[in-house]
Symmetry: C2
Subunit: 306 residues, 2 copies
Amino acid sequence: MRRLFLWMAANAWLRTRIPKLWFSRRAVRRFMPGEDLASALAAGVGFQVEGLGTLYTRLGENLTRIEEADSVADHYRGVLDEIRERRLDGEISVKLTQLGFDLDVERTFHHATSLAAQAAESGKSFWIDMEGSPYTEATIAFYERMKSAMPNTAICLQAYLKRTAADVQRLIPLRPEIRLVKGAYAESPSIAYQTRHDVDANYLALCVSMLQAIRDGHPVRLALGTHDVRLIEQVAEHAAALGLPRTAFEIQMLYGIRMDQQRRLAREGYLVRDLIAYGEAWYPWYMRRLAERPANVLFALRQIVG
Amino acid sequence: MRRLFLWMAANAWLRTRIPKLWFSRRAVRRFMPGEDLASALAAGVGFQVEGLGTLYTRLGENLTRIEEADSVADHYRGVLDEIRERRLDGEISVKLTQLGFDLDVERTFHHATSLAAQAAESGKSFWIDMEGSPYTEATIAFYERMKSAMPNTAICLQAYLKRTAADVQRLIPLRPEIRLVKGAYAESPSIAYQTRHDVDANYLALCVSMLQAIRDGHPVRLALGTHDVRLIEQVAEHAAALGLPRTAFEIQMLYGIRMDQQRRLAREGYLVRDLIAYGEAWYPWYMRRLAERPANVLFALRQIVG
């Protein structure tokens, strides 16, 4: 099932045809307030009242022409303006391939540092998202380079990758900001844990590793990018055992998933940030959400069928 | 199934009658070379040739008369003499209740420090085993007290207990020697993780926590008391990510369980120690081994039936 949806996410022919044929916007709406930025920001204003921060990302992946990267960067500049104007506790998260990483690394670096600089003016961080394993090393190296230019740069790491334990150690001296996710691509058993059992164990271990570094005086901003509340509780128990407050880490969940838990955690004093994705290129992103949890598929089917 | 065997382990009536009625010695032999010390030591000599260390424990739990503790201590003094004489890479592991912990804590402390002192003469550690949760706090406090008298004292902690994360942090400054096991008693959900999934995640996280402390210069002797080779591999991957050698931790497995893995791991350069239990009071211990793994039960049934 998971493999099927991941294959569907990657398939170019399906990418252009499936959305119009199969999926009602109603089903997709579960995971996004709308296709345009205005809807995303409106949702963000509502969350702010409830004590939730936000993180904005426009859907869209690998570009084919570098000029597209310029317009993506322009778009995010506008997002940062809006965040500032509305005094939102909002940040942005960008895939490097959206900024032309496949085509022109220097231009990507220019765009990324310029967006990070603009975010820094409002005291916000600039998040680099993580993609499939062919990009892992290059993205981490890019992050290291960016950190020395713009210290407010943040990155996403994936707990299903075996290399992540070493990557965490590599990044800790840089005072990193890390969103740890389980990982949503199909990766080989030689480089990635395959079962939920193994991935979850690694996830908790990586968190404890970072919390211990925090306790020992190394500044790490740790964000748990997961909807697994049980796992979050285990992380919280370890944080408490290390003598750290609830605010030693934050929790980042996607718009539309476990909203009740997002609000409950925020009420209980945890830092919670809702990741709002928007845009027209939602197909591969939506397929990966379906691949993540059988419950998401059931929900989608119910919306489509009736 | 697990609960049934744990109940059988604790039941006093069954304890006196079942062994003679149901279980052939042949089935029990899977987990012990024999009921007497001589058989245990003979097995230890064989293991030494194969590069495996050993850890000896005489079965027997809660005493009813304090005089029995004196004879238990005498017995272990004899074991330490034999280990020294045979130049075995062997240590001893003792349950505090075997040394009278329920009856007279000071006498237990006297016996334990005297055994630890004798072990220290040969450069060996003295292991305190862990029992059910009513004993956890008292055992850890006892360990803290012993550590200042005899630094070669080692203790067992259980990954299924939620408190263990805090106990690890509490003990790290004492330069502890810790055998981490998953835990083999029936404990309540309020204090212990109940599923293999949660226990394994906590197990890995606790190991990574201790490995990171080791990397940061805190001396911790970490022994993985588990037969879960996959989990051991995950620990090994984290150790490597922290830049630690294979010998940063050791592996302790029970006699008769996964002997092929014990030998393989030793050949591959890991420190492996085989825990040899012996003695006539094998019934509750054997029931806990059956509770641990369905495969053990099948093996036992096959021995009894045919």
